[in-house]
Subunit: 393 residues, 2 copies
């Protein structure tokens, strides 16, 4: 692999410097750059490749020629049922969909993705198989984690547990779970299955927890108890965790203290329309909180974008982050905190980190977040993979 | 003025048709198009020019070469004081700022703007003079309403009332007001001055009401009492009206019923981080609710964009509008409802309406909102004024 010297770039908006990439990694300052290909950064901002910490690559219609008219009902169960029926009816191709979406993410600077992928008795494990194929296709360009996700629940549809087991055996990286009370109606049985599969396959857990208030807090406590009992410190993510946005601050802080102790992280999409865990109190408590789009243009929602700077902006808006130092926290949610929460290694701009890099024209990190300028260059593992938002061959 | 025939366009995402513009207005179907300049719309979506219902053209640093680092404190009064001192120190030029911002709005398809403009004992009426000059510069291309806005309050800074009076005499269109309890500390005196100026100058009122809960509801009641007493039906806007997002639904509906009866409209920025009046209950009650950015890249906030499709998206996200028919309501907030709430005449796509038009590549209205595609063409008063986001000479 050719070395790459980026001249006159401003890491994280700091002073201009040269950055050398050697063997796919960032070289220590002072390393001899002889023979390296040289790119003039023109004083652009240099950022680490972005991290999408919670999406659903398998569901999107992003790449499809027809607009999907959304007429879905207001409840979560409406969306679950509508989607499963739509998938069966249209034979939506999760392989083509996930590959198109992953490539769109890469073109916009995202080099690591955690994707939940539906496992249910209607589609079986085929969506997982398709996204595993996308993971292989993107290997060396983009890291994709696959969560075997029981979107339609485990308990109400016999055979789902075996399908999850099979999905994990074939290579899914993480065991998913879903609203143990509100959807599954039997939190102990649901979570025992989820954590049982994690123990069996030695894999981490990521539970969708939309439940609000005291019900959500109760489910969260059950998750924390099992994390402790199985010594799964640092191996559990709670996605959404809306309950942390609407219990009292005292109740929230008790939960956050336990999450910090157990290394349980939070994935947030920072939705504008409901209570959410706020970034500042989570960080103050020592809890890793990171960002994701959730679904992008699917039967659930037409919103979302493969641009993690836009997600950082939405996180900033949801948290009322106006100061430059606060907006840096929003960016952290789609970069270093995402890597930490998902367990992506060798992340960052320090010497030895994998050279996943993004160049944008911006005067400051805050401007990059609020303006979301075109990606002039994306580097993955030391190779230039996109220019001006377009993937190279 | 040359007539303009737009061939093969889809008004509001409906079936393809041809639209003829004659004498600056949309001609009735079947009008003879002989002699008209012809533009091929290639099946693009045709939308009415957008309406920015609440912004602050005078405050922005959008056009400035240096990034403004935001280090402001958390309270509204911190932002008010910081801004006034910054303006005095930097001699920020509200003329150049407002003109650059207005032009950026036009390039993105916005042909009507309501701008609040600061009047205070530090800057006097100079910001109003500057934005009135911008209004003149843009005449025939873009309608700009100027609100004489006491951003630093009236009661605590002697002389502000006379300055507002002078600003209205020199051509400001609307009397502004600000948090009668929380900032002004004497709601009756404040509102009597605001409505007194409105009565004297025969001009409408637009009050910034950030106050939440029962305090905000009380101030709103005082506004409604004065609207009724002065027979100012249809002449009053309450901006923000956060209180309508956190009183009980019963209390809210009592207030909305009175607002509907008095034709008092609501301007919302739909911020993600606080309670807001939701679009659906306002519309159900018969209250006009419309959208705006508030400030764009100023000392208050680095966020915002002269793209009203982005604001429509943020309104959609804040209101959890996912269905196509719901997203049409978000678009209405930056189009017809904005025109109605602000009193911009001859608005729309019907025959006889002023031909303010936007062409975008989108399969549906919902897609235009969630994707915010480039503006391929902007027409103002029947003339093509921008292509691909760039103003023509």
């Amino acid at each position: 692999m050719t070395d790459l010297l980026l001249r006159n770039v401003r890491p994280m908006g700091g002073p201009a410097s040269d950055v050398l990439v050697r063997g796919g990694c960032i070289a220590p300052p002072g390393t001899d750059a002889t023979g390296a290909a040289v790119e003039d950064g023109h004083g652009m901002l240099l950022l680490p490749g972005f991290v999408e910490g919670h999406t659903h690559l398998d569901k999107t219609v992003f790449h499809e020629p027809d607009w999907l008219v959304n007429e879905v009902g207001p409840r979560i169960i409406d969306k679950i049922d509508t989607e499963r029926e739509w998938r069966a009816r249209t034979r939506h191709d999760a392989g083509a969909a996930s590959l198109a979406m992953a490539r769109a993410f890469l073109a916009q600077g995202t080099t690591r993705i955690r994707s939940h992928v539906d496992v249910d008795t209607s589609g079986g494990t085929k969506h997982v198989e398709h996204v595993l194929a996308t993971r292989e296709a993107m290997r060396g360009l983009q890291d994709i984690q696959v969560v075997a996700f029981p979107q339609s629940g485990i308990l109400g549809r016999q055979g789902t547990e075996s399908l999850l087991d099979a999905a994990l055996a074939m290579g899914a990286d993480i065991v998913g779970g879903l609203d143990p009370c509100a959807i599954e109606r039997d939190p102990v049985r649901h979570l025992n299955i989820v954590f049982g599969l994690a123990e069996k396959h030695h894999k981490p857990v990521d539970v969708h927890l939309h439940e609000q208030g005291s019900m959500g807090a109760f489910s969260l406590e059950l998750i924390l108890e099992r994390t402790r009992a199985l010594s799964m410190q640092g191996q559990v993510v709670v996605s959404h965790a809306f309950c942390l946005g609407d219990v009292t601050e005292r109740e929230r802080d008790v939960l956050l203290a336990q999450m910090a102790e157990l290394g349980v992280a939070i994935a947030t999409t920072a939705p504008a329309s409901r209570p959410v865990p706020l970034v500042a109190p989570c960080r103050a408590a020592g809890v890793t909180i990171f960002g994701g789009n959730d679904g992008i243009r699917d039967t659930w929602t037409p919103y979302g974008s493969p641009d993690m700077l836009e997600r950082a902006m939405l996180i900033g808006l949801r948290n009322n982050f106006r100061r430059d130092d606060e907006i840096a926290l929003a960016f952290d949610c789609v970069s270093a905190a995402g890597a930490k929460g998902c367990g992506f290694a060798d992340y960052g701009l320090h010497p030895g980190a994998r050279a996943d890099l993004v160049l944008v024209e911006a005067r400051s990190l805050a401007e990059a977040v609020v303006v979301r300028p075109p990606r002039r260059m994306v580097v993955s593992g030391g190779r230039i993979v996109a220019r001006d938002g377009v993937l190279l061959a």
